[in-house]
């Protein structure tokens, strides 16, 4: 009995110790950015495969600033959750890979160091494609919360051989895409799958159509997942789903790879990094693919969507923001790092100089030696610069994808899913005490 009292006392003690560490308030101003006096070691977490090879180049050239790499699953696959837990526990790495759509979540959790105090970083603004800089600065003058790494301008991957064989015109508008879907179905395939579990593709479509899911006026967030542009996109895909012109295979599964490999799926409107996904998922179709600009809502328009793209952020609590920022800049602007990043992971740089990389001006054998990166380079400049992500995207994606999945299995519609996600997003913001306009 006495023992159990001791145990209870002990655990209460431990509890008070745990709960008394209150989270400190966020700094309004940028962190000071002064170099350390001696050699430093930085930790960097990323899910880019073989990132170690890129970091090795840096480590060899910079003995005083050594970077240790940790790799993990992709962001929403677990790394973000680790970051959030590490931030709460106060042992986050110095640097981390964060996609643009997750940056607001990390800023809301007070996890990012404002690098505006590092003059090198602010001076690098013009080296990056405009919209990527907007993503890391949240459109605010005098702040920068991460260094842009890569971008995901979207285009149309299609099976050139099958389109030619069946005499189908390569669609330039979404109307032509829907018409082609009918012909592809008649020829025994699906034009594509509707990405019901990965909402980012749909977000890219909505972005292209001019949607504004989130706006932030400084005092309040506004959530609008059902603005006219998004409603139009949702209606378009709902129609294709209703007519069974697109398949409901969940993306990123073996079944989905199989559909491409067995020529059952003929196109994919995807980001630049998708080139790699098809090549690895459908090896049997090598040489038969081509890339064309993304279909447009109005004939003659030149607007592209964006899907994905990451930044390199310095976490709150890093003792060496100067060195961390220096490494992040090198990683994302130097031609040696960009070349290697492209080689190991097909990353398409957010730095303007990136499009001039030798590796990005060559023909790609899998795509019949087409110089596919030219298409994406053009698309990158056509991405609308003013798309803002919300501060709880993990939840918004999860709720929207729950609804989208229901819609493709015939329960409800995409629009209904977006309405529900809208309501639950507002609910989640409120439960986090994040001010939101209803």
């Amino acid at each position: 009995m006495r023992r159990s009292i001791a145990v209870v006392l002990l655990s209460t003690l431990a509890l008070t110790a745990c709960s008394s560490t209150d989270s400190s308030g966020a700094e309004k101003t940028a962190a000071s950015c002064a170099p350390a006096s001696g050699p430093v070691t930085l930790t960097f977490t990323s899910w880019v495969p073989d990132i170690q090879k890129v970091v090795d180049i840096w480590n060899k050239a910079n003995p005083a600033i050594q970077v240790t790499v940790q790799t993990g699953p992709n962001g929403n696959g677990g790394t973000y959750q680790n970051f959030f837990n590490q931030l709460k526990a106060g042992n986050a790495p110095d640097l981390g890979q964060i996609e643009y759509d997750a940056l607001p979540s990390f800023r809301v959790q007070d996890g990012l160091t404002d690098l505006a105090g590092c003059s090198d970083v602010t001076a690098a603004k013009d080296q990056f494609v405009d919209w990527t800089w907007n993503q890391v600065s949240f459109g605010e003058q005098g702040h920068v919360y991460a260094v842009p790494q890569d971008a995901g301008p979207m285009a149309l991957f299609y099976r050139k051989d099958l389109f030619e064989k069946n005499n189908i015109k390569v669609p330039t508008t979404w109307q032509e895409y829907a018409d082609a879907a009918v012909k592809v179905k008649a020829a025994g395939g699906y034009i594509t799958n509707f990405s019901n579990s990965d909402i980012n593709q749909f977000a890219g479509f909505a972005w292209q159509a001019g949607a504004h899911w989130f706006t932030n006026d400084g005092t309040n967030w506004t959530v609008d997942l059902t603005d006219p542009a998004t409603t139009k996109v949702a209606g378009y895909w709902q129609d294709l789903i209703d007519k069974k012109l697109v398949s409901a295979v969940p993306p990123w599964t073996d079944e989905w790879n199989n559909a491409y490999n067995e020529s059952k799926a003929w196109t994919w409107v995807s980001a630049v990094w998708g080139a790699n996904s098809i090549a690895t998922g459908a090896p049997k179709t090598s040489g038969k693919w081509a890339v064309a600009p993304m279909p447009q809502w109005n004939a003659g328009d030149q607007v592209a969507g964006n899907w994905g793209g990451s930044s390199t952020a310095v976490f709150k609590g890093s003792k060496h923001p100067y060195e961390a920022a220096k490494f992040a800049l090198w990683l994302n602007t130097s031609s040696e790092a960009l070349t290697e990043l492209n080689k190991v992971a097909n990353l398409y740089p957010a730095a303007k100089s990136g499009s001039a990389l030798p590796a990005l001006s060559e023909g790609v054998a899998f795509y019949g030696d087409q110089k596919i990166y030219d298409v994406f380079s053009t698309a990158s400049g056509q991405v609308k610069p003013d798309f803002t992500w919300g501060p709880t995207m993990t939840q918004t994606y999860a709720d929207a994808s729950d609804g989208f999945k229901a819609a493709v299995s015939g329960q409800g519609t995409l629009l209904k899913a977006l309405q529900d996600a809208q309501a639950s997003t507002i609910q989640t913001l409120k439960s986090q005490s994040i001010p939101v306009k209803e």
Binding site: A14, F84, N220, K405, S409, I434
Partner: protein
């Protein structure tokens, strides 16, 4: 038996043997649970869209959210339905298999005992992935079935998951029941045989009543396991579009903590733990009362 005086004499020895357990139990069980309870009583306050967040005491604010969160309660209903159907089927099968092994009617007892138990040696995630492939229309070797029956659709996926769970745990439960059967003294069977009881009669009137405590135990384990269902539905999310991010209570907790909304997730966990405790405990009470009669 030694009285209190004996206990006092052995106090140093008792302390010596209990301390390692007590320390680890406190460190990895009591403290985390206590921490979760404390976390569930806090809430976040902030000013402005990106303003600094402060953690302040929120009383039962998170619990109010828990009780008005309809997806969470839907998921609780779902696993209860799952449990009401799957647990009796699984334990019924386990009991039949255990009785068969014990009856002396089967040859190769050792082989079957191992074969039935083998699925439990397969990690739950691997089992779920394997069954996921078998269910997928484009990947399954049983195309005749999967082409006509959407095993991953909204109507059936819960029972597809139930099948996986049953496949994994039947052998495990069978082994518990079988070892309980082995502990029955052979004299009782002898007496039954002399009284003219056949194999089925012996099973029904002697074996089943005598392994009742083991059946109750496996049922409690299964109730707890059902309410905490996580790995199988999580894996099935990549095979089926019908498994939502709030499909089971534990998935809801996981999804909430990735927002990250640690306080609400903690409140969900506490409520789930209490519900599990109440259910298991009332089942135990219920069976004890019936047993006493």
């Amino acid at each position: 038996m030694t009285g209190p005086r004996g206990a006092r004499r052995h106090l140093p020895a008792i302390a010596f043997f209990v301390t390692p357990f007590a320390a680890l139990f406190a460190l990895f069980y009591l403290v985390p649970i206590g921490y979760a309870i404390v976390q569930s009583l806090y809430k976040v306050e902030r000013t402005g869209t990106f303003g600094p967040a402060r953690e302040v005491f929120g009383g039962l604010a998170q619990y109010r959210r828990v009780f008005t969160d309809s997806p969470f309660w839907h998921s609780v209903e779902r696993v209860l339905l799952f449990g009401v159907v799957q647990v009796p089927i699984m334990l019924g099968l386990a009991l039949i298999l255990a009785l068969l092994l014990d009856s002396g009617l089967v040859r190769g007892k050792r082989f079957f005992r191992l074969a039935f138990f083998l699925p439990y040696a397969v990690p739950g995630v691997v089992a779920a992935i394997m069954w996921g492939y078998l269910y997928s229309p484009n990947l399954s070797p049983f195309t005749a079935v999967t082409a006509n029956l959407d095993l991953l659709g909204a109507d059936l996926v819960l029972w597809s998951i139930a099948n996986v769970v049953t496949w994994v745990y039947v052998g495990y439960n069978m082994l518990i029941l079988y070892s309980a059967l082995l502990a029955i003294p052979p004299e009782i069977y002898e007496a039954a045989r002399i009284d003219g009881a056949g194999v089925i009669r012996t099973a029904w009137s002697i074996k089943i009543p005598m392994v009742r405590p083991a059946i109750v135990l496996t049922t409690v384990f299964s109730i707890i396991g059902t309410l905490q269902l996580l790995a199988e539905p999580q894996v099935f999310r990549s095979f089926s579009s019908a498994v939502s991010s709030t499909y089971t209570p534990n998935l809801t907790v996981y999804a909430t903590s990735s927002v990250p909304n640690f306080h609400l997730a903690a409140a969900f966990s506490v409520v789930l733990a209490l519900a599990t405790f109440v259910l298991s405990f009332s089942f135990l009470k219920f069976t004890q009362r019936r047993g006493a009669r």
